[in-house]
Symmetry: D2
């Protein structure tokens, strides 16, 4: 961390700052320029509150050199993390997995039918929404507890691990048999929820918020990891921009950047990012080509009768065709 002092800092305040920094076991190197004096802080600055220093009267600016996250940081964990998500399925470190299923769980026939179809096509993890975050209070809010029961039935029938979204920590008990707990984009900074998930031993798929930086995503992963649970899967699902033609802007450069910054697996959700079924296949192939560890894709047997997000779900036959092309591109990039 670099502290840039204003010209002619008050000596007493500078003495106070120096003593306080040393009390946190930080070494200090001083550089003096024509207009500025600069303090270079040496040691573990993860716990130093950058705003606290910036507010001092004698300080012009503070710049962080080290990343503020540790557990999620590749510098301290050079090898890829591989996460076991149950039923013998692993993700990360070369293990690629396809998550597929409907946006919302609607009936036993619907979820089991789709589960069989996506498994036949090559999907390895089943998704299905039971608790649904909807912008409007008048929209379908999901089957909730009943939805989770149906999802677990589909899991038993197909022997696939399942993933579903939690919306509030009061729902945690209902997720006892769920294999992967999903945290949605709107909850990426629901810190009480993250801490509670950090005390479980379940894999957590953490979606990037609509206006969150990669650093913030990794700090949210750090909340879970610092509480004891290291099984975090990162997910890029589109960010909000001024762009007007698709629901969100899929930020695929996040895939190689997250792989550089962190050792955690990175998954891409092209269905929510684009909100348009016919744009899902090209963005899926693009995500594979830039090295993601998996995808989460919405598939519905009758998209135009789906109770939520109908515009973005693929039909089973479309998904099967896409799955075939995913495998071809995966082979191509491994050459």
């Amino acid at each position: 961390m670099i502290v840039i002092l204003k010209e002619n800092p008050d000596p007493q305040q500078l003495e106070n700052l120096t003593r306080w920094l040393k009390s946190m076991n930080l070494g200090i190197h001083v550089s003096e320029g024509a207009h500025e004096k600069i303090l270079g802080l040496i040691g573990d600055t993860t716990r130093v509150d950058i705003d606290l220093i910036r507010a001092l009267d004698i300080v012009a600016d503070v710049k962080r050199i080290q990343e503020p996250y540790k557990s999620a940081n590749r510098k301290f964990h050079p090898l890829d993390t591989v996460i076991d998500v149950g039923h013998g399925v692993q993700i990360g470190g070369g293990h690629f997995q396809m998550i597929a299923g409907p946006c919302s769980i609607e009936s036993p026939e619907q979820i089991c039918g789709i589960a069989e179809a996506v498994k036949a096509a090559g999907a390895t993890i089943l998704r299905g929404g039971a608790f649904k975050p909807r912008t409007s209070p008048y929209a379908f809010q999901g089957m909730r507890a009943d939805g989770i029961k149906l999802l677990l039935e589909a899991s038993r029938a197909t022997q696939m691990p399942v993933i579903t979204e939690i919306m509030d920590l009061s729902q945690l008990d209902l997720f006892a048999e769920v294999d992967i707990i999903q945290v949605g984009a709107r909850n990426m900074q629901n810190f009480d929820l993250l801490k509670a998930l950090g005390q479980t031993d379940k894999p957590v798929l953490l979606k990037r918020g609509l206006a969150n930086t990669l650093k913030e995503l990794l700090m949210s992963a750090e909340y879970i990891m610092a509480s004891g649970n290291e099984k975090v899967i990162l997910c890029e699902r589109g960010i909000r921009t001024y762009s007007d033609y698709l629901r969100n802007t899929l930020d695929l450069s996040a895939v190689p950047m997250l792989h550089e910054l962190s050792h955690l697996p990175v998954v891409v959700d092209p269905s929510h990012a684009t909100g348009m079924a016919r744009i899902v296949p090209p963005m899926t192939l693009a995500a594979v080509a830039c090295g993601c560890d998996g995808l989460e894709i919405e598939v519905h047997n009758e998209p135009t009768r789906a109770l939520s997000d109908s515009a973005q779900q693929l039909r089973p036959a479309e998904f099967a065709d896409l799955m075939r092309r995913v495998n071809t591109v995966r082979e191509a990039i491994s050459c």
Copy 2:
């Protein structure tokens, strides 16, 4: 709602769509152009899922004419809502209130001292953070339940109504004596929390999320109101943009726009929006000049020793001077 059909729609599918729309008590007017056929839907379309229609094979696009919110909509409630927040204080409809206090509650002396200072300067509602949403798990997380106790003590000592932020619905019992419950920007779409607050009779100050539109803010207000609680105060606190010199971009045009779209009071938080104490006064005066119903401003007796957000808090003397200027500008705009 306007449904634009593709060229030469399948007659059977069009018949199905028409029948389904009529089953929701909607009237249909058909306009036929050279290239398009357009259906105009007449009636209450609040509950119609726009994505469901957009996904149909015969539909090219759907455009909403009516806003999807009702309780928060000025069209159906032309008069300004005035909310009683306790201790004889009202906000909205010409009642202007200044909310002030520290970012975090730190000790009895700190919160009571600041409370007296801001009251003497003219503030009418006391703020103080007990539960603190922090990006880093290693940063100070607030005094939590103990903080609320200290805030209520300060309330009794100064006879001011108090506002503090809830982070999770499991904390709701602790807010029994709090006058106004604040929902932070990161929780604006925590729908389970919104529903739970809708079942209380407490005034709720709802902050706009960092990447949320005004429509989404009003839909979140609608969640609270549709659950039975109409005491919602809207708050603009800056949005995330590409801008690099301040923490967020304060969107003051939201003030007149929200007043046009809704009857609810609109408050501005320049402290979090800018994150820089010396920019707070000009933005406060600007917010007053464009007609806000109140402000929420952070004040700390020793900003440079504050345990959170130290860079953005005013000293009591700076706040008193600002308060004087706020009153002068309020008089000027009422001429």
Copy 3:
């Protein structure tokens, strides 16, 4: 185009509006709802100024149904446009081309050496900057006219068509022998320049502005095409978002969307979008996987001595390896 009237519109003003619309050869269909009256305009609305109608006292809102561009619109030109860029090279409609070369032209040895290297690796069009738009007036501004001469020498030596950027229409004479004229992101809405290029018969590569929508990009293409030159190549090169880790956010979903909206070829520039050489290869492969018609990639023999944008240029050996992988992915997606 749909015109939504306010409640109880003044009959005389409505009569005036109706007469004016009919004078533009537009048919009008009226739908009447409980709260609104809606006019559906039938005919060619390309030349109707939407703001003019929106400003009328009796109008609540106006929504466009048809796109405001015609020449660039796939609806009116269903087949892909194929553009001949000289030296027997074609782009679009299945013809994929790799544009490569240095950010800036620096010396005869540099540009000829790189030209030979990229040609050997499989590039088919040579790029090189002569006029350089730089944020700082103190940064290297390019070799200007001399740079173009060197580029043309390299073209003759390697028999490759060349592309270079124009910054002002006063430079147009210097581009007489250049094969493709590039319009940079900052000039996407330099309308006088676009009109002047529309009066040439040169292929124009038009880069999307940093804050421009696809509709605006297509309207800028329309400026060139409406002036008589239909040889426009669209280029996605990253947009400005709040994202903090790379220079810009590459919006790859623009590739399939532009192919749907328009018949023009679509090229991707991952070098400027990311500004980081090690992120260029994964984003290149992703662009290929989602169907782009070509790429523009910066290659430099000694990136760390380059006079501009040194951080984003690949070394020739890195480019050759990438080119091999591009071909593998192209084969994979054509299966």
Copy 4:
């Protein structure tokens, strides 16, 4: 400037870097930490290309401490710049001016009539567009040279200085008698135009681009000033965000920030920022309250017949009422 080296940098490359930096008359202070070695550069780093250093293999990151602009920088010019714009009118340093007039010049009667009306209401500078940047090639493009003649007639008739926009440097001769030359948002980084304006002695009003930071705005001012013309007026006119209800987001915090960073006058254009006439008055008062040196407001005698941007223009009576309120708020903030 701070250069952060990677761990274990190659000694020869470090030696090369050090020698090169010293050749630019920069002093170097070295700080060594547990994981990093940091070089602090002492001296004038304005001309150092930050990307050039960042690209070196031994460098992890570079951070700028000094701003890259000098002429526009308040640090080197502490006093406010006051610009004489002709006809005895000055702007900056306490001199507040109201610029008003139509979006487009349409006829002698129109421009002269509006000029008299806005002068009577208190405006001191007349605006009117002759060259119009329009998104669509099919929209009205302005009266061009004829428009400038009419504007100068209105100037002579009312004895007001006039401002109008230049779109291309080939038009410069037509601006010989114009008092202030406006550079539009889309041309903020048209560097050849900026350099040409730097060689005139005309005041230039430079609008911030839709996706440009304040640093970039000041770098564009620097282009003009470095070429010899120090009469630059900065203008905030709204930035592009995800916000969906107004054309752009007016970033008023830019006013106090620009005043802190620079000595140049700062003007606000609420008409283009909002695009909605009824939102112009509250945003005008807000701009005054946060300390702008002037405003540019569109006024039209018959807004609904205007040939461009009709939705955002005030009627003369509305402008007169606003002008009265502007004066009241100006008095209030000077107390």
